[in-house]
């Protein structure tokens, strides 16, 4: 009798999923894996496969040529700079949107999302027109010796433009969730405004800010459309890595293109992984 009622406990030991009342695990998990494979993994695997076919020597020659190295430096450098600028000013924008009520708030909020919606080439052309030496803004900067268009500074500005929404949108909900009472508590304990910001508000929104930075950075590394207009595309000086890939493709050097792509991908992946690890450590500290 008893042997028919329950299976022996070992029968369940092989499942690695914890028992749960949430239905549909097999279906949703299967779909997730299938979808991710189709959209992300397979295309990326193809790149690696293609690059693998070219042999080490050739791979190193193309992937680590002086021109490629300069392009990586430029792409990652400007993306990081733009991410940092966005972290500062995106935080400010999010702060204003969350903390204050003012006429036209909805419009301002919609403006923040505009870089998402705009074809990036449009942004590139507009920025180039503004910042070129005879443009509206460029004409005032030029006499001061500040050149924006066709320099890394111009690239950074383009990347700031397209990266802004990431920081604002990731910080905003966390800032809204951070109760007013926490700041009031800090004030009753004698903290000044700057102490409250540095020790209470900033640490609380830090993880979200890091996420926003990471997303803006990642977007900046891969950005092509807006940058190619304002950068001037001088090899070794203002040529970004994505453009170098396109240049290779235009010369039917598919393997060379994939070599550069692989290097970029590995570096990006490594950086994002590091940022994720940093955040996980932060979350563990909060005991959540």
């Amino acid at each position: 009798m008893s042997s028919t009622t329950f299976p022996p406990p070992t029968a369940r030991a092989r499942t690695w999923r914890k028992p749960s009342v949430l239905p549909g695990f097999a279906l949703t998990f299967g779909t997730t894996i299938g979808w991710l494979s189709l959209i992300v993994l397979i295309p990326i695997a193809t790149i690696f496969l293609k690059a693998a076919g070219m042999g080490w020597r050739h791979f190193l020659e193309v992937g680590f040529s002086d021109r490629a190295l300069a392009a990586y430096r430029l792409s990652f450098g400007t993306a990081a700079a733009a991410g940092l600028v966005n972290a500062v000013f995106g935080l400010l924008v999010a702060w204003v949107l969350v903390r204050y009520a003012f006429p036209g708030k909805k419009v301002v909020s919609a403006l923040v999302d505009l870089p998402f919606a705009l074809p990036t080439a449009v942004a590139g052309i507009a920025l180039t027109a503004l910042y070129s030496p005879n443009g509206w803004i460029g004409q005032f900067l030029d006499p001061l010796g500040i050149k924006v268009a066709f320099t890394p500074l111009g690239i950074t500005i383009a990347l700031v433009f397209i990266g802004l929404p990431f920081v604002v949108r990731s910080v905003e909900p966390v800032l809204a969730d951070l109760g007013k009472d926490v700041e009031e508590a800090a004030a009753t304990l004698g903290a000044s405004r700057s102490q409250t910001f540095a020790r209470v508000i900033f640490p609380a929104i830090g993880p979200a800010l890091l996420t926003g930075f990471a997303m803006a950075f990642a977007r900046g590394v891969g950005e092509y459309g807006s940058v190619i207009f304002i950068s001037g595309n001088m090899p070794g000086k203002t040529e970004i890595a994505p453009l170098l890939i396109v240049t290779q493709l235009e010369q039917y050097a598919y393997e060379g293109a994939t070599a550069i792509a692989v290097v970029m991908m590995l570096v990006s992946f490594g950086i994002l992984l590091a940022i994720n690890a940093l955040q996980a450590a932060g979350r563990r500290r909060m005991g959540a």
């Binding site: 009472d181 009031e184 004698g190 020790r199 909060m286 959540a288």
Partner: protein, 321 residues
Amino acid sequence: MIKVQNITKRFGDFAALHGIDLEIEDGEFVALLGPSGSGKTTLLRIIAGLEFQDGGEVYFGGEDVSRLKVADRHVGFVFQQYALFRHMTVAENVAFGLSVKKRRDRPSKAEIRARADELLRLVQLEGLGARYPGQLSGGQRQRVALARALAIEPKLLLLDEPFGALDAKVRKDLRRWLRDLHKQMGLTSIFVTHDQEEALELADRVVVMDHGKIEQVGTPEEIYMNPRTAFVSHFVGETNRVAGEGGEVHFRPHDVDVVEEGGETVLVDNVFRKGGAWRVEGALVETGLLVEFDMDAALAPPATGTEVRIAPRRSRLFNPA
């Protein structure tokens, strides 16, 4: 001594407080009791400096602090939702007030740590200093909040619905514990509550508020036994309200005798045990007004649908406003 003089406060069209006068002696434990919207929390926040009054003054020991910022008033404030810093450990939370002091007033790191440990011992959370608030229960979090407020050695402790977010059992324990702590420390304290039981149990004096005005100030005994207004009478404790000659007659359910003759006839609707007595709910036959009263549990309870004659032992007459 804390003195509040003619405080008024408006939020847009809503008059939150009109002309509040209140004096609190050193070492007193005072409850601000009232329904939501009565202005009790606003008054507490004005005393703390978290809100600024439109008119009137606040004095701490003779000094006018009306224009002083919250950070300069040296009050301990305990928030309803604890407002702990989630990214700091319990010990760091408690030490926060000391660690933000100006360098010349700031104790050394070792002193700060010792003080935090001492406070954690006081709120019976010894050994939990390294935890994060997210790892504590609601009652423990509230005690951390209290320890954090006490760390700055405030002249005055203010608590906004300190037990509001806790479940009944924890509430009761924490209430008793807070009363003991107050006795031990003798720190002037004001707490806000909408729970009359809490106010009567904890406070030396209760300030009953409604619609931005003080209805009555007195000891729990005075408030319960001699409510000055109809509002206080029915807000504090259970009260039957029936129409009488020249106004409204109020009487407590436990102040009722069942009589053979005279009195009022009640048609019994429902009987249940309430503590050591029968609680009888019914309607006055004459007027149809609902009343409830207690009967000795040693007697047989009256059956539903029967009639009982009652006469209140104590009652109070309030003139209609």
